[in-house]
């Protein structure tokens, strides 16, 4: 026995280990458990007895896949099965086993070449199966279509002997089968069990103590029905039903492939919750999700609903082929649609004709064509937001703010244009005033060296008109630079600043350097490399140096003011590069300076020693012996332009003219600046508002649809025959005289002649309530799937869902596709209301409760395990809908994914599990442990495992520890209870029912033990109570609270607590 075994797996139930455990648990029936042997049927039934034999043993070579078909025999279709074989004979001759070739070959000795199934397949027919086939042929070889491909029929409700037990027709179907097998159903469960089961089933939350008391006290004959109605009307009902739907829709908050970027689809999730709360008929629910965008005059809600198929995983991996991924998205839509609504797996047909079900590759790609024209990209191009097509959905408030801004912005643009027109005139006035007042130098201390290239530095050759006055001109050749000699001396621990005006003609070159040659490169520099500004402060490169680079390239052929400031910290973080007075974002390839950068190397302008010759103009080089403040650098940058005003107007170069104009526009043109600021603010407001308005991915159609080809063996690079949209021939045809598009497909899926949709849907809700569907393989109603345990009931319920109640009365007539009606029918049945007690006989003969010999008893889903604990503790934040939240999780969960987990705060920590941020690449750990799928692909049935890792979660995950503390607080805050009453109250909070005496004794013992522990170690009590971010009341004694927290921890961990 493996320790990590699925509790529900068959082997588990039959090991001796359990029997001993049962004995240890004082059960009386420690006997061997065996499967009940089926009674031999009299008349052979093709669907029940023969088709499964064919499917399992023969279809691989004699089934739908035409490429693999042998001997010209096809056994999944009636007309083919009775056709003449390639060899001339007949596989099946009705009534004549001896002439039927099939019987001949299956009875040949295994070593014979013609023996079927071939020995190498490892398949082998049992004698009983051979006998069945023989008798079937002898009885006339009656054929029947596969059960799920025939429209459901409203079978007559069977007669039962026990007339008292059934509460509705569901019970009659169930009881008839029980009576046939000689079972008696269990008695009705007690009311505590019922209200807890119902609440957790219908709203995913436990009942409050008050609700339990009310229900117990309600003596009216329809108390139970009233309870059902209350729960069906609860706004949490929509959440509960949405929960399962999210698995099917593979809803997540990240893109899934590779980088697993963020997306938001909560508007779609909110739509689903609302749709269930509104009891939107299931056909409408389907149509809007598959094709809401294509409905005539589609509403915003219908477009949001169409996001169902945008929940597919998307990719943005560098180098991946967009076509390949586009194909994957479409394949996912095909598979998901087929699974969710048709209970059929079609994925196999992507590469070859389906082996078991009559779906050819061609039909697969015809189905594919319906989903192939979404205007999306194969690589979504985003790792942070929703890829197109998206729909922005403002709230009413956001909408009115947006309308106002959309109105104001053009007006502000007009004002700005007017002000701009007035600028030349204003500048003239301003200049005159300026000349009168004189131009002041900004006062900036610490200048240790300045090179203006005007007069004092006339040693420099090649001077031309510069930013101000003259500038140094260089042409990018290594022997052309200006050697200043031994000037300036900075140390790694000094604060200093330096920079210049530059106009870059090439893309690379040193503005200035005081740096030795390699390999050491001691010193400092400022250079442009591929038009990015770079600064090195070096003791020895690269081991002891700082290197920073601007993230963005700078413009060339225009004057730029570059300034570097450094704080002497030895850290790249203390270094800034300003461009035109603004600090630029930097990359830091090297950040390891710890020693001197002082050097005897000469200060060179326009080069490093034998490297990085500059091509362009350099002017106004400055060095400061302190770190300039941002505003000082800004003022320096601006001031150069102002100085131009000193030059007579007719002597100014074009550059100088525009420089002065820039200054005026930026600093002096008051009216213009005001208008500009206002426009910028409005635009920023609009941008911010747009950013706040949530968007959601929706479906849409390309104007010109993409062509669809069969991909040979599923390979997107190998295009075969061109196909157009269509549905598989095995099912009823698409309605005529409608366009062949997604909308028609959606309508076809919920058409009344579609045999699968209603059955599949009914089965899923049956599974939600009873733990297992009437068809165990909820995602496979095909020939390899399990047959229904109660075929007539399944069909009857499917009709009930599609057509409304057979027994509808005028005043309460449910509509068609009424999900609440279906659930009401199921939960008010006596079948559902049975107690879950298992007797020895029932465990032996109905181990998985497929016959419903007892009430359902099922471990809660991952999210509900958590919701339940939060609700019991009183911490639960019952808010419905909205963006996902990020509750506590241990550090490191997202490490592999390069995303940072930013934990939510406050009330968001206690939202329901369905709102927890669903990261596909790194799942919220406790949910993963409790079998919640990663939602990479559609999941119809969660497995239900039981593992020690789950025990660790509920014992130690801070969520549950905090819940235990809040739970304990809640208990201790009840006024006027003695210990025994407190413990009983705690028990009822957790389990709805009052405790038995012995149970109470266990709790009391626990309380006293823990109290003793914590009394001895008060620090431990404080420690325990410090878990979690919710405040704890200071008026409760820590020892007492910690002890009760221990009791709460016990209660939250009980099997009964995590089970309903």
């Amino acid at each position: 026995m493996l320790a990590w075994r699925n509790a529900k797996s068959p082997m588990y139930r039959t090991t001796p280990f359990h029997l001993v455990l049962l004995a240890a648990g004082s059960l009386l029936f420690a006997v061997s458990i065996r499967a009940a042997a089926p009674a031999a049927p009299l008349a052979v039934n093709f669907g029940r007895d023969i088709r499964p034999i064919f499917s399992e043993n023969c279809f691989t070579c004699h089934g739908p896949d035409k490429d693999k078909r042998k001997a010209g025999l096809r056994l999944d279709m009636k007309e083919d099965a009775f056709k003449k074989l390639d060899s001339g004979g007949f596989a099946i001759v009705p009534g004549k086993p001896d002439q039927s070739r099939i019987l001949a070959v299956i009875t040949l000795p295994p070593e014979d070449d013609d023996h079927m199934p071939p020995t190498k397949t490892g398949k082998k027919l049992s004698t009983a199966q051979v006998d069945l086939l023989r008798r079937w042929i002898a009885q006339g070889a009656k054929w029947a279509e596969h059960w799920s491909y025939v429209a459901p029929e409203r079978f007559a409700v069977p007669e039962v002997r026990n007339k008292k037990w059934p509460r509705n027709d569901v019970d009659r179907f169930i009881l008839a089968a029980l009576e046939q097998k000689g079972f008696k159903p269990n008695a009705e469960a007690d009311r505590y069990t019922l209200i807890r089961r119902l609440s957790l089933d219908l709203i995913g939350l436990p009942p409050t103590v008050q609700e339990v008391d009310d229900f117990i006290a309600d003596k009216s004959p329809n108390a139970y029905e009233k309870l059902v109605e209350r729960l069906l009307a609860s706004p949490h009902f929509g959440e509960r039903l949405a929960l399962a739907w999210l698995d099917q829709a593979r809803y997540a908050d990240t893109s899934g492939y590779h980088f697993d970027g963020f997306r938001q689809m909560h508007l779609w999730r909110d739509w689903v919750i609302q749709a269930f709360n509104d009891n939107k008929p299931f056909d409408q629910f389907t149509i809007e999700q598959l094709a809401g965008d294509l409905l005539p005059d589609a509403t915003i809600e219908q477009k949001i609903a169409s996001g169902f198929h945008r929940n597919v995983m998307t990719n943005d991996e560098g180098g991946a082929d967009p076509e390949e991924y586009l194909a994957k998205y479409v394949v996912d839509r095909v598979s998901t649609t087929a699974q969710v609504w048709l209970g059929t797996t079609v994925g196999c047909a992507e590469c070859h004709d389906h082996k078991y079900d009559p779906i050819s590759t061609k039909e697969f790609y015809q189905f594919y064509a319906f989903f192939h024209s979404v205007p999306e990209k194969g690589l979504d191009g985003t790792r942070v937001r929703n890829p197109a097509p998206v729909l922005k959905v403002p709230s009413p408030d956001q909408g009115s703010r947006l309308i106002r801004l959309i109105d104001l912005i053009p007006k502000a643009e007009k004002t700005l244009a007017d002000r701009e027109g007035e600028l030349p005139k204003e500048q003239e006035v301003w200049e005159k005033e300026l000349q009168k007042q004189g131009i002041q130098e900004p006062k900036i201390d610490g200048l240790v060296k300045a090179l203006s290239f005007d007069e004092a530095d006339s040693a420099a050759t090649n001077r031309v008109a510069g930013k101000i006055g003259q500038a140094l001109q260089l042409r990018g050749s290594t022997n052309e630079f200006f050697d200043v000699g031994r000037a300036v001396s900075f140390e790694n621990t000094n604060a200093f600043s330096y920079g210049a005006w530059v106009k870059l003609h090439g893309k690379t070159g040193a503005v200035l350097s005081k740096m030795e040659e390699g390999p050491g490169y001691r010193g400092f520099d400022l250079l442009l490399n591929d038009a990015k500004a770079e600064v090195h402060l070096v003791n020895k490169f690269p081991d002891n140096a700082i290197k920073v680079v601007t993230k963005d390239a700078l413009p060339t052929n225009t004057w730029l003011h570059l300034m570097v400031s450094y704080d002497g910290s030895n850290k790249a973080g203390g270094l800034r590069i300003f461009v035109d007075g603004k600090s630029r974002p930097l990359d830091t390839p090297t950040d390891k300076l710890s020693a001197s950068i002082r050097t005897e190397a000469p200060l060179l302008i326009g080069s490093r020693i034998k490297a990085f010759p500059f091509n362009g103009l350099i002017d106004d080089v400055r060095f400061y012996s302190r770190r300039l403040k941002s505003e000082e650098v800004a003022s320096l940058a601006a001031h150069a332009n102002l100085l131009i005003a000193r030059i007579a107007a007719d002597k100014r170069t074009d550059d100088q003219k525009s420089g002065l104009k820039d200054y005026f526009r930026q600093y002096a043109a008051t009216n213009f600046i005001t208008a500009q600021t206002r426009l910028a603010r409005l635009r920023k407001d609009k941008d911010e508002l747009m950013e706040q308005i949530p968007d959601t991915m929706v479906m849409d159609e390309l104007e010109k649809p993409r062509e669809t080809f069969i991909f040979t063996r599923g390979n997107f690079q190998s295009k075969g025959e061109k196909v157009s949209a269509g549905t598989p021939a095995v099912w009823p045809p698409l309605p005529k005289n409608q366009p062949t598009n997604r909308l028609s497909l959606a309508r076809w899926i919920v058409a009344t002649n579609q045999p699968l949709t209603a059955r599949v849907t009914v089965n899923r809700y049956w599974g939600m309530l009873f733990g297992t569907g009437l068809v165990k393989t909820a995602n496979d109603f095909g020939s390899q799937g399990d047959r229904p345990s109660h075929p007539e009931l399944l069909d009857w319920l499917a009709c009930e869902l599609m057509q409304g109640a057979a027994s509808a009365t005028a005043e309460a007539k449910p509509h068609e596709w009424d999900v609440k009606h279906l659930l009401r029918l199921l939960v008010t049945s006596a079948t559902y209301r049975q107690s879950a007690v298992i007797t020895k006989e029932k465990l032996e003969r109905d181990p998985y409760n497929r016959l419903l010999t007892r009430g359902p008893r099922v471990r809660l889903d991952a999210e509900i395990v958590r919701d339940n604990a939060l609700a019991i503790s009183g911490l639960l934040n019952a808010k419905i809908g909205g963006p996902s939240v990020k509750p506590y999780q241990p550090p490191g969960i997202w490490d592999g994914t390069d995303h940072k987990y930013e934990q939510s705060k406050g009330a968001d920590l206690y939202r329901r599990g369905m709102y927890v941020f669903w990261k596909r690449a790194a799942h919220y750990p406790s949910f993963q442990t409790f079998d919640a799928p990663s939602r990479e692909t559609c999941t119809l049935q969660r497995p239900r495992t039981s593992t020690p890792l789950q025990s660790l979660v509920v014992m130690n995950d801070p969520v549950y520890v905090e819940a235990a503390r809040a739970f304990a607080t809640r208990v201790l805050q009840q006024r006027g209870l003695n210990l025994e009453e407190q413990l009983a109250f705690a028990f009822r909070l957790a389990l709805a029912r009052p405790p038995e005496k012995k149970e109470l004794a266990v709790l009391e013992k626990t309380y006293r033990e823990q109290r003793a522990n914590f009394a001895q170690d008060k620090k431990a009590a404080e420690d325990l109570l410090s878990v979690g971010e919710s405040p704890r009341p200071k008026d409760i004694d820590a020892v007492e609270l910690a002890a009760m927290t221990g009791v709460a921890n016990v209660l939250l961990n009980l099997n009964e607590t995590i089970t309903r």
Partner: protein, 482 residues
């Protein structure tokens, strides 16, 4: 069966069981009856506790240590020497070699595909004379224990699908990984630990997704359980602050008593499983921290691996892998990141080789010295190879290599694999396979064969189809079996 007697035997062996017969002790019995007695008591057997009750063949390996090198290490610079390619550096890759095969979007736009030879020297190692790069001096020392396959090939050309393919035999997410299949098939040898454990190291480069150790459609019990270097080794293993071991035992005792009462009333075997799980959880609480504590290893051992207690590293993980193997963990998977060298390859690969060479070699040597290598299969490799042409410009000491699925190298050791062997060959460009191709499915089939499993027989029915790790292909590579 006299279970009271068995209980007493058990209780005398394990200190914490010396409690009352209604306490935890009663529950440990399950493990006893199932032959799971913890590390010291594991014993070899052709019977398994997995779905395969009796193995299909006599197993050579009982467990696997899979060192997954995420991002795809360059075979050309580590394992597959190509002197000719060196000579052809800076010349266009001949069309006759490329044969119009698909290349990624990262280089398909390049004007030229210029060959670039490895700047690293290759030397022969061991008696077998296996040629390996100078970047792997320590792996060179264990060459005689290795089987180097130079002719691996795969289908996808991008990381995510390729890792998924190597792990599950299919590019699309949704299927179980190797470790899940193996634990599903064989079960665990140790009741105190999960059968499939995963350890991560490194940072940067390609992200690691949980599905790389995911159970797919198999039940959640078979997912790889991540053990962590920092914080709790297993999530939520530690009691909350303030809950002592004594308190925890008392609390579990109370839970179990209430659970047992409920089992008596309802009779649902799920309650029994629940009870057993709390027992196991407690045992993990006591055994796992001890297991993860490498500080008690000898100085010589720590040095051999380059492991440092308290630090998360590949070296520490290798040492932990040995400790897990000793305790009978069935499938141990280490994922080490940052082998994706599209640019700056010479620098990047040197760093990663340095990070992994010593510990990988030390692991094999250590297993051998302890007699564990015979029944432990060690696998070392990435998800595909890298191109013989440069991505981007070829500069002095700087070039890059793009993704290359058509050939790559992996090595295996121990567990019934032929030691001192180099298998398969590629052309002068390390571009196409010229000899003995090994598809990922073949590799899976061979691995399963070594574990005693006929790969076509370990199947799981899902959505109407019997799935297996090797999909519909896979041939055992008999030439590399010892």
């Amino acid at each position: 069966m006299n279970w009271i007697e068995d209980l007493n035997t058990l209780a005398s062996r394990r200190a914490f069981l010396a409690r009352s017969s209604t306490g935890l002790g009663a529950l440990a019995l399950g493990s006893l009856l199932n032959g799971k007695l913890g590390a010291a008591e594991t014993k070899p057997s052709a019977k398994t506790s997995g779905i395969i009750k009796t193995l299909h063949f006599a197993p050579k390996a009982k467990r696997v240590i899979y060192l997954f090198m995420s991002g795809a290490p360059s075979h050309i610079d580590l394992f597959d020497p190509k002197p000719k390619l060196k000579e052809l550096t800076n010349t266009e890759l001949p069309a006759s070699v490329r044969m119009g095969q698909r290349i990624t979007g990262m280089t398909s736009g390049q004007k030229q595909l210029l060959c670039v030879g490895s700047p690293f020297e290759f030397k022969r190692h061991g008696k077998c004379g296996m040629e390996l790069s100078e970047l792997l001096p320590n792996i060179g020392k264990i060459a005689d224990d290795l089987c180097l396959i130079r002719s691996m090939h795969t289908e996808p050309i991008n990381h995510d699908p390729a890792v998924t393919f190597f792990a599950t035999g299919n590019q699309q997410p949704g299927r179980p990984v190797m470790g899940s299949w193996i634990t599903y098939g064989l079960g665990s040898e140790n009741a105190n630990l999960p059968g499939y454990i995963v350890l991560l190291s490194g940072s940067g480069g390609q992200p690691l997704q949980a599905r790389y150790w995911g159970n797919g459609f198999l039940p959640g019990d078979y997912q790889g359980v991540q053990f962590r270097g920092a914080g709790d080794a297993v999530l939520y293993l530690s009691n909350p602050k303030g809950i002592t071991t004594k308190s925890r035992l008392q609390l579990i005792d109370s839970m179990q008593e209430l659970n047992r009462r409920q089992l008596g009333v309802i009779g649902d075997p799920d309650i029994a499983t629940h009870i057993e799980n709390y027992e196991l959880a407690y045992r993990m609480q006591t055994s796992v921290p001890d297991l993860m504590d490498i500080s008690k290893e000898s100085k010589a051992t720590l040095e051999a691996y380059g492991a440092e207690p308290g630090k998360a590293s590949f070296a520490n993980n290798c040492l932990l892998a040995r400790r897990l193997a000793e305790r009978g963990v069935r499938f141990i998977q280490l994922c080490h990141r940052d082998w994706d060298h599209h640019s700056d390859l010479p620098k990047g690969i040197r760093t990663q080789a340095k990070n992994t060479d010593q510990a990988s070699a030390a692991l094999v040597a250590d297993l051998k010295q302890r007699g564990l290598l015979d029944d432990t299969l060690v696998i070392w490799g990435g998800e595909f190879g890298r191109t013989s042409y440069s991505q981007g410009e070829i500069k002095k000491d700087n070039f890059g290599r793009d993704h290359h699925p058509r050939c790559f190298s992996i090595w295996m050791a121990g567990g019934g694999i032929k030691p001192g062997m180099t298998y398969g060959a590629t052309d002068d460009f390390a571009y196409n396979i010229t000899e003995n191709p090994v598809h990922v499915h073949d590799f899976h089939a061979t691995m399963m064969h070594l574990l005693g499993i006929e790969h076509t027989k370990l199947t799981y029915r899902f959505e109407g189809r019997d799935y297996r790790l090797t999909d519909v292909a896979g041939e055992v590579v008999r030439e590399i079996l010892a």
